[in-house]
């Protein structure tokens, strides 16, 4: 779908295919799995929002090779990512790092959940006290003059309607 609408709008080049090629894979399945996991979080810099694991661009292929070389050389996952960030900048990470600049990005959903949650509970809280006033402190309050006027008006309308009918 992404390509659908994107290509409708922009006619991006889409080549078919495999992304990871058979000969690229590492012989050790554990290392290969790690390389795939790292690749899935690395952006293909010339593509639109594709990871190098999904992309057929030649740059993506180069980056996949690079990731596998580093993994084979014994780098940790984080060391591979740091290496790529040092070379290509933070743009290469599909998961933005937690830092002050990205505070709004990471913090907003959490803040919204907290604020929304508090707002919802206050809603209940207010309602509950109103409700208990009604049930425990005797009969409900009398209608205010405004409410009484509105009620009278509605009743009048109703009678009028019945007469017409």
């Amino acid at each position: 779908m992404r390509t659908l609408l994107a290509s409708l709008a922009l006619l991006v080049w889409l080549s078919p295919a495999l992304a990871v090629k058979p000969e690229e894979q590492l012989a050790d399945p554990a290392l290969e799995t790690r390389a795939r996991e790292i690749s899935a979080g690395i952006r293909c810099l010339v593509c639109q929002n594709q990871s190098i694991d999904d992309s057929d661009a030649s740059l993506a292929q180069d980056l996949r090779r690079l990731v596998r070389e580093r993994v084979k050389a014994g780098d940790s996952d984080q060391a591979v990512r740091d290496f790529l960030v040092a070379r290509y900048g933070e743009f290469v990470l599909l998961k933005p790092s937690f830092n002050a600049r990205n505070l709004v990005l990471w913090g907003l959903p959490l803040a919204a959940l907290l604020i929304g949650g508090v707002a919802a509970f206050r809603l209940f809280g207010r309602r509950r006290t109103e409700e208990s006033e009604i049930s425990e402190d005797g009969p409900p309050e009398k209608l205010s003059p405004d409410e009484q006027a509105e009620l009278d008006r509605l009743l009048r309308q109703d009678q009028l309607g019945q007469k017409r009918a």
Partner: protein, 658 residues
């Protein structure tokens, strides 16, 4: 000539839309019923004119009239008929014409089917709808005209992008737009309710069927697009958290929240302000999505700055409608009275919970989609926000939401009984967890998160079945069937839709158990994928109507023998000389074997990516079941009982609170 008729019809429709946007509101202000009652007729006329316009462009495509620039750029004489049709909306100008067609369609549908509405409500709603239509028609006519001619018509067209030449794509954009744009009418209703000061249960009842129609179409449209990506793009993914996908997911999330909060508003007169706000937000997100997709801002902030005409126009529309509606909302919100009382443990409480999580998820998708654009525009720094971000924010928000569904649907209105609801659900939960533990011990485990996901999916499906079972066995088993068939449709609809969520969760969780193999295969060689074996018989060439293909012939065997012949292929389309990959799939129950080929060498060797994907079809069957639930809910009697006629044109003597 026919093209000019279409062009002229579009301009006429624009004029009608201006009339329809202004006159009914004037009538409502002047309390002139005759002017207000012009709105439905104008809406029908506008729709008829847009149909003429759309039909004439379609005609140009079907006849390969390359004197029309738009047809030349997106069609080809050799293209199969169905793609000549779908080519109409397979490009910027044509898809915007489809936008306008659907805007007019919803206006006309309301004019036809909502005759029970009070005249002023109907008139103002149609006027607001027409304001949106007028804005987009102006956008079409002034910046994206599909009817422009070429001075020297070429003999052959440039063809439609080959990845778009697929039956799924013929119907995906119209479905998606039906949903996306369908929320415009909900927005128009909300704006009219605010303008006229009538935000009440009757409003919730009026908008519910329209919200449902848009929601059903959007659900199916998103699912269809995801399914298309799965079988067309060749690496078996189904959701990429791409900005363009997010653009359709955001209105779906808030639209789903709206569907639920409107129930509270209708039944209990509560959450009124919130429901109106959601109606406004949902269509605002549709507009935002259109801006993101149509302005080029997604490719890069700079691409937008280089050719800003279209982008700025849509941005202007965006600001006009979002700003206008929020200003209106701010003016009127105080006049809306709080609704009835309810305890946190109640159906209302559960629906508030639903709204909280859906809205925050929409916000997470929103910030993740826009943050890189904003950051680059403001500071020049470039960062990427991709799947890992959304998997850490929006996805975890869905888990508590889904866990609450079986509980929420059992709670009574106003004050629910949590212990009572849970008394049956403990059994359902035990059954789900037990089934997963049983299966896990047989297939020797799997990722813990995925197993938990399967348990959650089963909990949802079984919880939905239990909801129906409980209703059918209230008071014993002897009258089971009569009771089962007497369950109100809206309750069956709810159970189906929630079971659909469960199926989708099952399908997504099952992807953790898929088997993948990326290998180079030589003719005669056999490989294994999961419990299947796969033999390459050879490579052959094939000529299609507008492409040439290289086909790999595989034979698929399971333990018992040959089950299928699978022919994944690479195609090169004649028109654009662009290669595409055609995957081959074998379905076994709800699971699939999925093959895609890459480079070939030596005439008998091919790079192959083979998958065994267990229960993968549930990912899309789930949303289909949700949509079926929606359709059933749409047919519920309660929705056909409209607003009483007595309120017609009863311009309240005391004008609405200002």
């Amino acid at each position: 000539m026919i093209v000019e008729i279409g062009h002229f019809a579009l301009i006429l429709a624009f004029v009608v839309s201006l009339f329809q946007a202004i006159v009914p509101v004037w009538g409502a202000v002047r309390h002139d019923g005759a002017l207000v009652r012009l709105a439905p007729r104008a809406a029908l006329l506008q729709f008829a004119l847009v149909i003429v316009s759309f039909a004439s462009l379609t005609n140009a495509y079907l006849n390969s009239d390359f004197s029309v620039a738009n047809v030349f750029q997106n069609s080809h004489t050799l293209k199969p008929l169905i793609y000549k049709w779908s080519g109409v909306w397979g490009n910027h100008e044509g898809s915007m014409l489809l936008w306008v067609l659907i805007l007019a369609l919803f206006g006309a549908a309301v004019a036809l089917f909502s005759r029970r509405l009070p005249d002023d409500m109907l008139g103002v709603t149609l006027a607001v709808q027409s304001m949106i239509a007028a804005a987009f028609m102006a956008f079409l006519i002034f910046t994206s005209n599909p009817f422009l001619r070429l001075a020297n018509p070429p003999f052959e067209g440039r063809d439609l992008n080959p990845v778009l030449q697929d039956p799924g794509l013929a119907i995906h954009p119209p479905l998606l737009y039906l949903g996306y744009v369908g929320f415009s009418i909900v927005f128009s209703f909300a704006a009219a309710a605010l303008i006229l000061g009538r935000v009440d249960a009757a409003f919730a009842r009026m908008v519910r069927p329209w919200t449902l129609v848009a929601w059903i179409a959007l659900t199916l449209g998103i699912a269809m697009g995801s399914y298309w990506a799965y079988y067309e793009l060749g690496w078996g993914g189904y959701w990429f958290w791409d900005p363009v996908e997010n653009a359709s997911l955001m209105p779906w999330l808030t639209g789903t929240a709206l569907l639920h909060s409107a129930i509270v508003m209708e039944k209990r007169e509560a959450l009124k302000i919130w429901t109106i706000l959601l109606a406004v937000i949902t269509f605002s997100l549709s507009l935002l999505g259109t801006f993101l997709v149509r302005s080029g801002v997604l490719t890069s902030v700079h691409a937008f700055a280089v050719d800003p005409e279209r982008g700025l126009f849509i941005l202007f529309i965006l600001i006009l409608f979002i700003g206008g509606s929020f200003a209106l909302f701010a003016l009127r919100a105080n006049a809306m009275r709080a609704g009835t009382l309810f305890s946190p443990v109640s159906r209302e409480g559960a629906l508030v919970f639903n709204n909280l999580f859906l809205s925050v998820a929409a916000l997470a998708v929103f910030i993740g989609t826009l943050y890189p654009l904003l950051l680059e525009a403001l500071t020049g720094a470039k960062i990427s926000v991709g799947a890992p971000f959304f998997n850490l924010t929006a996805v975890p928000l869905m888990i508590p939401l889904f866990m609450a569904i079986p509980v929420g649907q059992k709670l009574a209105w106003k004050r629910g009984d949590l212990a009572g609801a849970m008394s049956r659900l403990w059994w359902v939960l035990a059954l789900a967890v037990g089934a997963v533990a049983g299966v896990a011990s047989i297939v020797s485990g799997g990722p813990a998160m995925a197993l938990a996901g399967v348990a959650l999916g089963l909990f949802l499906v079984l919880g939905a079945l239990d909801e129906l079972l409980e209703r059918a066995t209230r008071g014993g088993w002897e009258r089971f069937f009569p009771r089962l068939f007497a369950i109100p449709r809206s309750n069956v609809a709810m159970a189906l839709a929630h079971a659909g969520v469960g199926l989708m969760v099952l399908g997504i969780s099952a992807t953790a158990f898929e088997k993948e193999k990326v290998v180079s295969v030589k003719a005669g060689e056999t490989i294994t994928v999961g419990d299947y074996s796969l033999t390459l018989n050879g490579l052959t060439t094939q000529t299609g109507p507008n492409y040439n293909a290289l086909v790999a012939r595989f034979v698929l065997r399971d333990g018992t023998g040959v089950v299928a012949e699978l022919n994944p292929a690479k195609r090169v389309y004649v028109g654009r000389q662009m290669p595409t990959s055609e995957v081959a799939r074998h379905r076994a129950g709800l699971s699939e074997v999925y093959l895609a080929i890459g480079e070939t060498s030596g005439g008998d060797r091919v790079d192959l990516r083979a998958y065994y994907k267990p229960y993968v079809l549930l990912i899309w069957l789930g949303p289909v079941l949700m949509a079926i639930g929606g359709l059933l809910s749409l047919s519920d009697r309660r929705l056909r009982v409209g607003v009483p006629r007595r309120a017609r044109m009863g311009m309240p003597q005391g004008s609405p609170a200002e």
